[in-house]
Symmetry: C2
Subunit: 373 residues, 2 copies
Amino acid sequence: MKIILFCLLLCPFAYALDEVIEKKVFELPSYTTTSGTDIPVKIGYETYGKLNEDKSNVILITHFFSGTSHAAGKNALGEVGYWDAIIGPGKAVDTSKYFVISSDTLVNVNVYDKSTVTTGPATINPKTKKPYGLTFPVVTIRDFVQVQRKLLDSLGIKKIHAVMGASGGSIQAVDWSVAYPDDVEKVIAVIGPGFSTPPFGIALVNMWVAPIRLDPLWKNGNYDPKNQPRKGMIESLKLIILSSMQFDWAKSIGGGFAKGEKPNTKFSDRFHIEAVFEQIAENRIRHMDANSLIYTAKAMQTYDVEDQIKNTKAEYLFIPVASDIIFPPFLFQESAKKVGDRAEVFVLDTKGGHYDGITQIHLAAGPIKKFLD
Amino acid sequence: MKIILFCLLLCPFAYALDEVIEKKVFELPSYTTTSGTDIPVKIGYETYGKLNEDKSNVILITHFFSGTSHAAGKNALGEVGYWDAIIGPGKAVDTSKYFVISSDTLVNVNVYDKSTVTTGPATINPKTKKPYGLTFPVVTIRDFVQVQRKLLDSLGIKKIHAVMGASGGSIQAVDWSVAYPDDVEKVIAVIGPGFSTPPFGIALVNMWVAPIRLDPLWKNGNYDPKNQPRKGMIESLKLIILSSMQFDWAKSIGGGFAKGEKPNTKFSDRFHIEAVFEQIAENRIRHMDANSLIYTAKAMQTYDVEDQIKNTKAEYLFIPVASDIIFPPFLFQESAKKVGDRAEVFVLDTKGGHYDGITQIHLAAGPIKKFLD
């Protein structure tokens, strides 16, 4: 009896938890980039929920700078998706109602992550049998979006109910509504800049990847994949993390000296947070490719659709984080004014900075559900 | 008549403007650092106003990370001091009343600035006749303060009416009240952390100098002074500037592409702000020394006098900037609580970020004058 009751209550969840999310692959023999180069393209994607008969229940999830398509559920590696708090059966993005597609982008930085599939500078150029490196064409947010459109085409999907993403993903989401104004009903943009990357964002992202260019092992992009500019990548990731996680995160790590080290008397000794920080960054770069970090940065910097806002037709839900120093809330507030009553803003009033748009997204579950349904 | 009236009204100012501020030099044949090393020391300083007979009208100005002792007036190079808006005859820090001393710190980064005098890793070690490089001892904020104390001793000054500084200078100012609780009446701390550098600050300052360590020309500190790690220094200064000047500054530079460049199609091409930013940083490093940047960073990181607050006796005026992302106002607000009614906080409610503590200081002239007088 107890077991039956247990199962009646919990089996739907247990089922959801146990189902392993599979990575699917979309291939295009030839894609012409916005910069005018033809390349074969392959990207990974995940789906949650079921496509309905008239294909009208589609929600597309676009990922952030260092993210992947693994947005929800548990994958084969046992990892839980970054927005699992709001995507699933009965959740804000209800997969018992919606068919959710989450796609890897071009030039995804997590090239060596087993569950990420992407095409970028680390990809083998079929013509030379070597990695493209810096011969890979510059790609823009619009390229990310156009490849996603081809993926949806391949599934027979013409219209989407909503596109949603955080940070760099919010940029793609908004760009979808600009590129295909007739085919996107709703956009949920979380911790993003709105309709263009502001100069501060362009400069910040430049700083994020500057350490890679300084590392002598980068070799102007022609490094051996087995001998990447790791030191530069570590500094790059440290800066990305510090910009995104901000004050309280650093506080949670704490002050003082690294164990057994005395930075106040010895030049090479470190502070506690320096040691921990380095370790965290080192773990983060394990699956990353240096050139792809620079290409992704460039894509983020190119984003500017201010002149095309007038063509949009979608409804927007903008969700900034109050303490975000990368994309402060006033950016979304100004963006909302530009599309009048088609936009609403819900501020996540948390103290953890930019990355709260990922980790604290459950606090916006109500407004998201209401906006979607 | 017109000329006489003109002169009556403006001559005091004209006099103040025309007087060239002279750089003086203080030398100590031997100073023992907090890390236990004896070194000969030389630092520059400027004075404004006149010391009164009982030497009771002294105000000490301590400079910020990339600053120098040139706080007011015009120097021989024609440069106006960074806090000239509040220091001078009739100004908030009234030099017709106070004798103001502004001192260069140890390991000042502006080694090759003709009006800065400092001792640090770029100094010639008298024993080896070569620059100290990384054999220079690690120095802390307390070392900065102790050397300033010796400078005041040399002038016969025992007590100071007030110490004031911005950012790294605010750290020195507060540390004065901890090191010499009986000799400091008042402290004005602008855009600082309070009684310790928080973990976020330690990590941020680590990021500031990381690019230098990555530059192969750094050579673990053993570079030829004529062949400094310039690329690393430029990235370092870019990050310092971006952290300090923030959003509105970037906006004032503007978006878009660099002239004649197309970063959306060509990998090596740049955005407008990237090009301008690089130029600004390149100008800033001209007088700087790479190792000194790292040593100054370390000094800032070591600051923690939380355990010694109870010994302080001074009154504090804390002036944060509302939009500062390096040292957000809550730090000073929390610091103020720790010293009860000996502290007051005046928030500069401006949008320009950290550096407004330098450029917008005139907005705090009233509270500063009231606090001092």
